[in-house]
């Protein structure tokens, strides 16, 4: 009865603290770090959303010549490369295929850019040699 009352008070506190050699020790090869200290494995919460190219979410069609003409040189009618347009792989391929189709089907001029689209806003960062 007295023992039960003693146990109810709380964890047993010794008069002399436990010496180092009597503390519970684990073998070095079996040592497991205490779980509370280690960092929790999680995905980077500060990750930025992936960058989107200009045409992300816009469907490319061979019929809208205005959109296709924005990726074509005004002087020669050449299709600009990926390093100039800044498009992702998928969209660059789609644009190229659509431009080629528009050329063959007779929707878009080949050797130059349609004059009515010359004043369109510039998407590609073309650098002409000095």
């Amino acid at each position: 009865m007295a023992g039960q009352a003693v146990a109810a008070r709380g964890p047993w506190r010794r008069l002399v603290p436990v010496p180092l050699w009597e503390q519970p020790r684990r073998l070095q090869h079996e040592w497991r770090p205490s779980p509370s200290d280690q960092p929790i494995q999680m995905e980077n919460p500060y990750k930025e959303p992936p960058k989107k190219c200009v045409l992300c979410g816009i469907s490319v069609d061979y019929k809208n010549v205005q959109l296709l003409s924005q990726f074509v040189s005004p002087h020669t009618g050449c299709i600009y490369g990926r390093h100039i347009t800044g498009l992702c792989n998928k969209k660059q391929k789609e644009i190229t295929k659509a431009i080629k189709r528009a050329h063959v089907f007779g929707f878009m001029p080949v050797m130059f850019k349609d004059p009515s689209f010359l004043t369109d806003p510039k998407i590609c960062n073309v650098k002409y040699p000095e």
Partner: protein
């Protein structure tokens, strides 16, 4: 579901003649077992370049778009048929573009170093 799209460029003609050409084209399509869904007129505009067809040099043309559903055998027969029509400047069959704005996940940075090192099997 629309299976094919026929982009047609017709000679710049008066309205009744254009109507006659379109009528016989659609009839030819229906004869071969196609279902014509829609016929759009994209207007009469000047061609992007001069096209010589059937011993004539064309500068203007009427653009038409027909979406139809039909058997795959229709493509070669119709291209043949339209090639013999004098009023048709250019014809083109395409699989109907299923216009759906796919969720573009954005530009994923490619790890070029991993590609350089040959993978040991």
């Amino acid at each position: 579901m629309p299976r094919y799209e026929l982009a047609l460029i017709l000679k710049a003609m008066q309205r009744p003649e254009t109507a006659a050409v379109l009528k016989r084209t659609v009839e030819a399509l229906m004869e071969r077992g196609a279902i014509v869904r829609n016929l759009e007129n994209l207007g009469e505009r000047s061609l992007p370049y001069k096209i010589s067809k059937h011993k004539e040099r064309h500068r203007r043309g009427g653009y038409f778009l027909i979406d139809l559903e039909g058997p795959p055998s229709i493509v070669s027969t119709m291209m043949d048929h339209l090639g013999r029509d004098i009023d048709v400047i250019r014809r083109a069959f395409i699989k109907h573009p299923v216009s759906k704005t796919e969720e573009c996940s954005g530009i994923i940075p490619v790890n070029y170093e991993d590609k350089l090192i040959a993978k040991k099997k």
